[in-house]
């Protein structure tokens, strides 16, 4: 957290402690509003201004530590950020699959519950804490996420973006979250515990289970996890499963991704190219997999407290890649669809997702039917969406809520989605339990 008196963000402050003398850092300087008229900074020792933005009182520069400290004393300077690499942010990935059109219709996944069977969840994270309804531990190590993977996935599915003014909100920020911890702090676990997590979630009444995990698929017949996933779908629960990260070789989809009735999700990059690591079909018995693909490279989403998984982006966020990230994105999209059409059966939703996907022109065992597309999905479901998407985040850096850097696009300052009523009064009944 920044001191309220500092204009330098916490990330930049940290970086400043690592540079010496004439070493420069890339920065973005935010000036007071009257500098909106294009005006370059006064020449200063140790400061090289490289670009002044036309649309906002901002300038990009390279500066030494001393120059940054001097700049901080300038009354016309409001804030100094560190320039950062741009990732496929959670404000971009939803746009890539058209989710803002559903948001514009007021859809947030309210009334729908998503369970993640993973490494647990950080129940204190601002983006997650108001969405969590119930936690369970099947590892004997407690529900709290000591790895970070589960919290990241949960945020992609249903994070509110509260710690980023909505910038890094998940696909279905109004959905309720159930988190079953079945993987340890290293992201490893046993099939039996994952199965217990799914069984628990189905008993709890969730509509969607997201499985960003996998193991080797058996070469013949079904393994118990595949059988359980198919049974859960038969029981009316949508199961999204990550395809795996062992592509591009063929027949690399793992279990439970090979399960016939689950929605198997591969990963694409920002430019709609398939991620090379995304596992490919067919299954051992010749079925086409994955079913669809969604963004899964360098996704910024919640960082669990005390963890440093991925490329850390300040106190509350981190960037990760994998079909693990694409999977909860699909789960979130399913939540939006189920909010609009609660009577949809899992097989109908899967069929609609597949039929509405945008063909990327790749082999079906690479892309499934293509990239998920919100507008076409809702059109197929007979749900009208507004012609205009919800307003994207502004390109003007507003004051970041937690002193983070303006990596890429910036928050609009709009209110993050508030918790909404959901089935069975889950949110008011939040409690923990250890079923083991």
């Amino acid at each position: 957290m920044d001191s309220p008196r500092r204009k330098v963000t916490s990330q930049l402050l940290q970086s400043m402690s690592t540079v010496r003398g004439s070493e420069e850092l890339p920065i973005i300087v935010q000036y007071v509003p009257h500098r909106r008229v294009l005006r370059h900074a006064e020449p200063r020792e140790g400061l090289r201004e490289s670009y002044a933005y036309r649309l906002a009182p901002l300038a990009h520069a390279h500066a030494t530590r001393d120059a940054i400290l001097a700049l901080e004393q300038d009354e016309e300077v409001l804030r100094i950020y560190q320039d950062s690499p741009v990732h496929a942010l959670m404000d971009r990935a939803p746009t890539q699959i058209g989710v803002p059109y559903a948001w514009a219709a007021g859809l947030t996944g309210a009334g729908v519950a998503i369970a993640l069977v993973d490494t647990g969840i950080d129940p204190t994270h601002p983006d997650l804490k108001e969405r969590i309804v119930d936690l369970a531990d099947f590892t004997g190590q407690g529900e709290v996420d000591g790895n970070g993977h589960g919290s990241h996935c949960a945020g992609i599915a249903a994070g509110t973006g509260a710690a980023s003014d909505g910038l890094y909100r998940g696909i279905a920020p109004g959905a309720a979250l159930f988190a079953a911890r079945a993987l340890d702090a290293y992201g490893n676990g046993m099939m039996s515990d994952v199965m217990a997590g799914i069984d628990w979630a189905v008993s709890a009444g969730v509509q969607i289970v997201s499985l960003s995990l996998g193991g080797a698929a058996v070469t013949s017949g079904e393994d118990p996890l595949v059988e359980l996933c198919n049974a859960a779908v038969d029981a009316g629960v949508v199961i999204c499963a990550a395809a795996g990260n062992t592509g591009p070789a063929p027949s690399t989809i793992g279990s439970p991704g090979v399960a016939e009735k689950v929605i198997t999700v591969g990963a694409i990059a920002r430019d709609n190219t398939i991620a090379s690591f995304s596992s490919r079909g067919p299954t051992a018995d010749g079925r086409v997999k994955p079913d669809i693909v969604l963004p899964g490279t360098a996704i910024i989403a919640p960082r669990a407290a005390g963890t440093a998984l991925g490329t850390v982006q300040g106190e509350y966020y981190t960037a990760l890649s994998g079909t693990s990230m694409a999977c909860p994105m699909a789960a979130g999209l399913c939540a939006l669809a189920l909010e609009a059409k609660p009577s949809l059966r899992p097989s109908e939703l899967k069929d609609a997702l597949r039929r509405s996907a945008v063909d990327l022109g790749l082999d079906t065992n690479t892309q499934g039917t293509g990239r998920a597309d919100t507008q076409q999905l809702f059109s197929l479901l007979g749900v009208d969406l507004p012609a205009e998407p919800a307003a994207p985040p502004s390109t003007t850096p507003s004051e970041p809520a937690q002193g983070d850097e303006p990596a890429g696009e910036q928050p609009t300052g709009e209110e993050p989605p508030k918790p909404q009523g959901c089935l069975f009064g889950w949110l008011s009944a939040f409690h923990r339990r250890a079923p083991r």
Binding site: L183, G189, M191, M195, S203, P224, L225, L309, G322
Partner: protein
């Protein structure tokens, strides 16, 4: 005889004292089967209502005894799974 992979059976026969983790699909009431499996010496873990199955840990010899029960439909190995984030090293 329930559905069991040949290599699994062979491993139990060759190493009867070795501990193994299994998932056992059964016919009949889970509570009753749980008690019966425990009576056969298994350390029973989870029960799965969706597929009428249980997880357990036992020795190879005990696994062979479990496999001989008429209400056992299938025995599968409990296998490792992992989170599918991509390793930064590829």
């Amino acid at each position: 005889m329930p559905e069991i992979a040949a290599d699994l059976l062979r491993a139990w026969q060759e190493q009867p004292a070795a501990r193994v983790r299994l998932i056992v699909s059964v016919d009949g009431a889970l509570d009753e089967r749980r008690a019966q499996l425990a009576a056969l010496g298994a350390d029973v873990g989870h029960t799965y209502r969706l597929t009428n199955a249980l997880s357990l840990e036992c020795t190879g010899a005990q696994a062979l005894a479990i496999a001989a029960q008429p209400w056992v439909r299938r025995i599968s190995p409990d296998t490792p799974l992992k989170a599918l984030r991509r390793s930064p090293h590829g």
